[in-house]
């Protein structure tokens, strides 16, 4: 990672960080949305009821509803049916009949489903196949959904995740609550409009930075400027841009998704007791020792944003550069098969 030659301002970001944030933001997954044939209104144009979307990984299913609705109204439904549409009753299921968690980012739904299906079929799909969704138009199973899948509820859930991430990082939510209402709304608008600049204009105020430590630390070595230890572990005692440094967080917001569950969450410090940076490899051997052991070949692999991240990637860096729009690094675990070995 290159060191900026000028003194880093509070919001200056190295080009490589911006690159990875943009790559994460621009990541998309193929979806095939099909209305449950039993629910297609009479006089619908059957044969056309499948809609394909290349959806942003950082977006959410309820945000796709307007686009899907426009298509169905233009192409599939007749006028009578179109008048009866109540999109607040819409809900999605996977092909296998699993209720989809609409408060999960689309990329997470996709990766988790891909891993689960390849496990079930005992195959390894090497080509990205569209995630086939069944769209139901009525009778949402509100008990199981827990919350209504409206855009407003989705926004609240998203804000909640951002605050939880903020609290994990700093032990308080001052950065989130310090934003003006218009700024907080701007984060969600950025996702709705899928506008990188709009989202990051606000997110840069609350996301850890990756600028190297100033003044107290030795000049960065040529190998990696990321390994300098912060002068103090207490963010409060170190005013200025370093206060928000990726290595100063108490814990990186990370969740592990095992195929078919459970979801695991725990404190993830950026540095370990012996002064070593917390890498993905150490993180996995610590939390999933039955699958990742340092004295043998791993039985599983880890995907972040659909990418097999190298085991030496640092958790602090992942938190600053490859987290989702809600601030969380979602690590999806899949089992290695003979055919997957060439990816390592």
């Amino acid at each position: 990672m290159s060191t900026p030659r000028h003194a880093p301002s509070a919001f200056s970001t190295p080009a490589s960080t911006t690159l990875f944030r943009r790559l994460t933001w621009e990541g998309t997954v193929p979806l095939e949305v099909r209305v449950d044939s039993k629910e297609l209104p009479a006089n619908s144009d059957r044969g056309l009821e499948c809609y394909y979307i290349q959806a942003p990984r950082v977006s959410y299913l309820p945000l796709l509803v307007p686009e899907i609705k426009r298509f169905l109204m233009d192409v599939v439904f007749d006028e009578a049916a179109a008048r009866l549409i109540k999109e607040e009753d819409w809900w999605f299921e996977s092909e296998e009949g699993h209720l989809l968690k609409w408060h999960w980012p689309i990329g997470l739904i996709y990766d988790n489903h891909t891993i689960m299906s390849s496990a079930r079929l005992n195959s390894s799909a090497t080509e990205p196949a569209p995630l086939r969704l069944i769209l139901h138009l009525a009778s949402p199973p509100t008990e199981k959904l827990l919350l209504s899948p409206s855009t407003e509820a989705c926004k609240q859930a998203f804000m909640g995740q951002l605050k939880e991430a903020d609290f994990l990082r700093w032990g308080n939510t001052k950065r989130m609550t310090g934003l003006r209402k218009a700024e907080q709304d701007g984060l969600w608008e950025g996702i709705k409009e899928h506008n990188f600049e709009e989202y990051w204009r606000v997110a840069s105020k609350i996301t850890p930075t990756t600028t190297p430590m100033r003044s107290h630390s030795p000049p960065p070595s040529s190998s990696a400027s990321m390994h300098t230890r912060p002068p103090s572990a207490d963010p409060g005692s170190n005013p200025g841009p370093d206060r928000d440094g990726a290595y100063n967080v108490r814990s990186v917001p990370v969740r592990i998704y095992l195929p078919d569950g459970p979801v695991l969450q725990d404190l993830v410090p950026t540095m370990l007791d012996d002064g070593v940076a917390h890498t993905l490899s150490i993180f996995l051997t610590t939390h999933l020792p039955l699958l990742f052991s340092s004295d043998r070949e791993p039985l599983a692999y880890a995907l972040v944003q659909g990418v097999m991240v190298p085991p030496e990637a640092e958790m602090a860096w992942l938190g600053a550069c490859m987290a989702g729009a809600d601030g969380w690094v979602n690590v999806c675990i899949g089992l290695i098969r003979e055919e997957n070995l060439r990816f390592r």
């Binding site: 909640g160 569950g261 969450q265």
Partner: protein, 126 residues
Amino acid sequence: MAGSPSPSSQPSAWTTHDDGASMREAQEALETYKKKDAVKVVVRFKAVGNAPIMKQNFYKITASNRFQAVIQFLRKELGWKAGDPLFTYINLAFSPAPDDTVSNLFKSFATDGHLIVNYSTTAAWG
């Protein structure tokens, strides 16, 4: 990750040729991680604003429960109906997703051996 040791130093079950044994072991590992153990953790309920204070505030709750179950439990203890407004927060800071588990929340946010759950009749921290 460790490099591949030479075949002669490894028990035959672990060589990459015996994919079946590795897969079985991996599947067993997944089953182990899926098991919901009966461990209970201490949750401390704290009223906010006008919300009534309960006689008993500390409860032992099964860690594998989802937070949704905690909300329903709280509703029952308060004697409130499904439609009555009830807002819950962790450490006065955020509202967790209802499918977050108590175990995950406890590991991440417990203080002094218990997880603080604030409850209120109005949205306090929105």
